[in-house]
Symmetry: C2
Subunit: 444 residues, 2 copies
């Protein structure tokens, strides 16, 4: 399919291209446009019917959107923006540079411009910034037949009519009713009798992550957004929530790997920007590793007499880091999904303690035998290494389990308490035990 | 609210409890039942109307579901299972121990039993295992009015009627039409004229992850599932996809932190099971760290003459590990979201190379000055440490970027190529450079 269209483009067969594209899904047309050369892009875009063009526009990358907006007339811009679902239009405008935002705002009419400006003012990541104003609002005095008639008259522009919201004369949210319920009810029933007045809603300034939590908890498809007076101002749809869940997960992962979070796609981010996101945390962690180095320097004499002790430092550090990161990842994830809460900290401590005793004993036991029989070191050294290993695993797991909860309790993001930071803490501790034990057991 | 209900339960005021609960959302009722004592649980459950009871049942934890199924009669069981949405019923039965599955199957009637058995046979994580059979199927010869009439007659039991599927007489999938389109069209239009015949679908045996990818790509609310002859057998709804996205993310995180993935909630998993999931990888990584230890043993003489070299081992290892884990996390995530593909491996190599040169140079430069002016070590040692740091960062990032892609190209899960494995590889390399450089530069 794709190949055939490339051929048609090279042969400049406009009508055939249009016919081929009209058979396809907008998402797939967008994928083809991404691969077309830039000077062809606008030409092909212009041959699409306006509603399809708007759909395709919302799916192509922001660079291409900019290229198109730069190349088309103000009138064409107006058509595209008006055909877009409102929340998509806002997303697109938010990504544009200032001169193009100006062009877009100048192209649209007064009311649209006012709405767009209002939406652009909601803080990033707030529920208000992701909502759409295209919803069906009904009055509770309506009958089912009147409601369906109202939907028929106004529904064409609405992003979703599957769920309709019932408001009073001051636009205060009163209830919710699904299109399904409307269709399956008698035409003469009053909405106030059949609507559900237990509506799950969110406020404009609430965090979009809270919205995602509510969608998951109540299995919603749409959720109303209200202002401080509980007046309906917009709705959030589940397709945006799916994107938010992915984006929040990516951000958590980046923080867990000691990076500044960024929602740019990897391949589209410059090497310099990537380096900038990574360097600060590496530097902080590098400098805190000095502390660990100082412990070694303090015990230089022991190391000088028993050089072989150095050979087990990597194993102790790595195992400690891995053991801690296992625990911290589980706890960070549990907190993110709402499965673990602050009040569970003692349960987590108790569980990690038991897990770490089992895991630590198993690893230390196997390690002891391995050192004696494979590495052929003497008993006191094997003993020193294995006891250190045991203590390190226990500490790493308990610290790894509790630090994310501690972070959350002081309103920090638990994700920063992931393996890199825990590794640094556990390293220092492990080496301290190691050399203290060595001093005592080996009598140096 | 919760407190009030607890009081009512203690006072045994059944009618009041029922009235209070009927005001609430099923998800919230389920939360209250979780906190109730077990001997009260079944009693309260029984006072709920059967449709609400079924909804609540699908939201309580599996232990409580088991307790209820054990306590109620076969007839009550039948009512609950029949009132549940079909895919929820399958999910619940899949979690039950064999004796309760038997009780449930015996309680339901022949047709239901056959269907349940059929669904239980789809492989875990397949599209078939998460679909529901409750969808609206229309014929393309129907008019809009006939279709709406058909939905009114059959729609009560359907999980979602927002999207209806059009099939031919052999049940082959022909098209899709939204309830919105039906309502907004003329009553006399033929479905074949207004339906969309470009349907995104999935096969029963395809992986549920692919289903999630398609939902995200095309912003779907439901997706039809077909058999090998393209006959419609069920639909998947977006609320299940949201759960799958979360579960897949959790699994990836667990693999990245060197654990056996498990979808049990942390607080509900025994310490022994947690230890079991963690121990195998720790053991493998511990034993591979021996390799790193052997490099140190090989260079024992250098370490003996210049003991201070040992003090910088933790910093070199930690920074290398962190630098590699930053890269691998970004690439693993990019692969999971479909933003990076196998054919991008050269682009990734080239980008990581440039990033690592910038980051490596910055860290090595700062480290060099720090060693000279704060740690007061001599120039050759500062130089050795900093050059090693530079090489380690470059190697860690390039290996961290490429190993996940390599894993994917041989059909392994990229997530296992995360920091723990990369740390182990990079450690050995870092120490090898470190001691080679030291031998050469310090002339020992």
């Amino acid at each position: 399919m794709e190949k055939r269209i490339t051929e048609l483009i090279n042969e400049n067969k406009i009508i055939e291209i249009r016919n081929e594209l009209l058979e396809m899904n907008t998402v797939d047309i967008a994928e083809i446009l991404e691969k077309v050369e830039k000077h062809q892009l606008v030409k092909i875009f212009r041959i699409l019917p306006k509603d399809i063009a708007a759909g395709v526009f919302s799916y192509i990358p922001v660079e291409l959107q900019q290229h198109i907006i730069e190349s088309i007339t103000a009138k064409e811009t107006k058509t595209i923006i008006e055909e877009l679902f409102f929340d998509d239009a806002i997303d697109i405008i938010e990504e544009m540079p200032a001169n193009l935002v100006k062009k877009i705002l100048m192209s649209t009419d007064y009311n649209m411009r006012k709405l767009i400006n209002q939406f652009l003012n909601y803080p990033e990541d707030s529920a208000g910034s992701i909502m759409t104003i295209e919803y069906v609002d009904l009055k509770k005095e309506m009958t089912v037949n009147q409601a369906i008639q109202h939907i028929k008259l106004t529904g064409i522009d609405k992003e979703t009519i599957n769920t309709c919201y019932v408001i009073d004369k001051n636009r205060k949210l009163e209830g919710v009713i699904s299109i399904r319920k409307l269709i399956l009810s008698n035409g003469t029933d009053l909405l106030s009798d059949i609507m559900n007045d237990d509506v799950i809603y969110i406020r404009t300034l609430d965090d979009q992550e809270n919205a995602a939590m509510l969608f998951k908890k109540y299995d919603l498809l749409t959720m109303p957004v209200v202002d401080n007076e509980r007046r309906l101002v917009g709705i959030i749809t589940v397709d945006d929530i799916v994107d938010i869940i992915d984006r929040e997960n990516t951000e958590d992962l980046q923080k867990m790997a000691a990076m500044q979070p960024s929602d740019e796609e990897y391949l589209k981010t410059s090497a310099f920007a990537l380096a900038k996101n990574r360097i600060m945390w590496l530097l902080i962690l590098m400098i805190s590793a000095t502390f660990t180095g100082n412990i070694i320097r303090k015990y230089e004499n022991i190391l000088h007499s028993v050089v072989i002790l150095a050979a087990f430092i990597p194993m102790l550090m790595d195992t400690g880091g891995n053991a801690g990161s296992q625990s911290s990842v589980l706890i960070i994830r549990g907190l993110a999904l709402g499965e673990i809460e602050l009040r569970d900290s003692f349960k987590v401590f108790w569980k990690e303690l038991r897990v770490s005793l089992i895991v630590g004993a198993a690893l230390a036991g196997i390690n002891y035998l391995r050192l004696l029989y494979f590495e052929k070191v003497n008993t006191p050294i094997a003993f020193t290494v294995s006891i250190t290993l045991f203590c390190t695993v226990v500490l790493a797991k308990v610290v790894g389990g509790l630090l994310p909860i501690a972070a959350k309790s002081v309103k920090l993001d638990p994700a920063i308490m992931a393996s890199p930071l825990i590794t640094t803490i556990v390293d220092a501790f492990a080496l301290f035990i190691y050399f203290s034990l060595a001093t005592w057991l080996l009598g140096v």
